[in-house]
Symmetry: C2
Subunit: 207 residues, 2 copies
């Protein structure tokens, strides 16, 4: 795929090989899970020995860490914009759903890791828990901003926390449905949910 036109040092080659390994490991963990995705399978896809993987990442857990970091970088740029406030922080997810359609592998990786991490002994559990905690806190904060600036009605903090949980639940659940059946209209269903949620928030929730 590449025809190097400039000289590349061994350091550069090492970085490229590392990237290749992470890409293949993401694929394999997404398809077979972390427990089921063996170093041997990953090494075969890269075209190296399992020992070579360990040379780069120390252990299978080290490789998992690199895979999760890579996942964060690739998806984070899409919707973790720090400049988004209020409802804009929700609207941004419409584009993320469209991004998913083009990056099925990243989504499969995340949901497979999240489901596996329901096992308390799973090495990705802390990473996944932190993703949820920070994601929920971010959306709750954005919704409280929307309340404070009058974009939505006078929601209580408790209602805001619950709405953030439901928002994340719908994201995950629709993504899972789409991964299981590509005829599912991921973008359309998400848009519909967000429209109805914003309409409810604007009116103000009962209680």
């Amino acid at each position: 795929m590449s025809t190097p036109s400039v000289a590349r040092g061994p350091y550069r080659n090492g970085i490229r090989r590392r990237e290749q390994i992470v890409a293949k490991a993401s694929e394999v963990f997404g398809e077979l899970g972390y427990v089921g995705g063996s170093l041997r399978t990953i090494a075969e896809r890269v075209g190296v020995t399992p020992a070579s993987l360990l040379q780069h990442f120390g252990s299978k857990e080290g490789l998992l860490e690199a895979v999760l970091e890579d996942w964060s970088e690739q998806t984070g740029a899409q919707y973790l914009g720090t400049d988004l406030h209020g409802l804009a922080a929700f609207e941004a997810f419409r584009e993320l759903m469209a991004f998913h359609l083009e990056h099925r592998g990243l989504l499969e990786l995340f949901l497979t890791m999240a489901a596996e991490a329901t096992n308390v002994a799973h090495p990705a559990r802390r990473f996944i828990q932190q993703r949820y905690a920070s994601g929920l806190a971010r959306q709750a904060h954005a919704l409280s901003e929307a309340r404070d600036t009058g974009e939505v009605g006078p929601l209580t903090d408790e209602q805001i926390g619950a709405e953030a949980s439901m928002f994340y639940a719908v994201l995950d659940g629709l993504e899972l449905q789409w991964l299981l059946d590509s005829r599912v209209d991921l973008v359309g269903l998400f848009d519909r949910y967000l429209d109805s949620a914003i309409a409810r928030w604007r009116i103000g929730l009962p209680e």
Copy 2:
């Protein structure tokens, strides 16, 4: 745990052993996934040899099939009541959420299998796809009954299909959040979602 007070034939013993194997396999597949949960691990927990598992189930896929059938039986009785029509078919899920709290393992098994089955080559994919298809169809049918009897407003068939998808998405997503953090109020959040969905359906959706 058992002190047999009556004679049991070899047939009966065979059934009991089969049940033990299915129970341990459910545990292991829920914890480690189907790909990662080896016959050896399952056999060790039962206290038999891997060869003995194969004697009962023919193959690992045969064992998976038995595990999924068992899952259906254990959870089906809780909420797949054929007598539920209209909104009652949604209300029944409130109890299912409470059931989940007491049967974490069954939920972990299902979500882990569902996430693994996003891989098109996964042996549980057809089972999982059929569960979603029949579940979505059932809820859509119940919601159309609710419309036809006037329990809710005049929803279109398209809206009904979308509401069924969102309903399932919220279920899965909240269950996943709870499995990742047991402080999540699964029952309370689900109740809140269903209350707000029913309120929206009663008013009739825009468009």
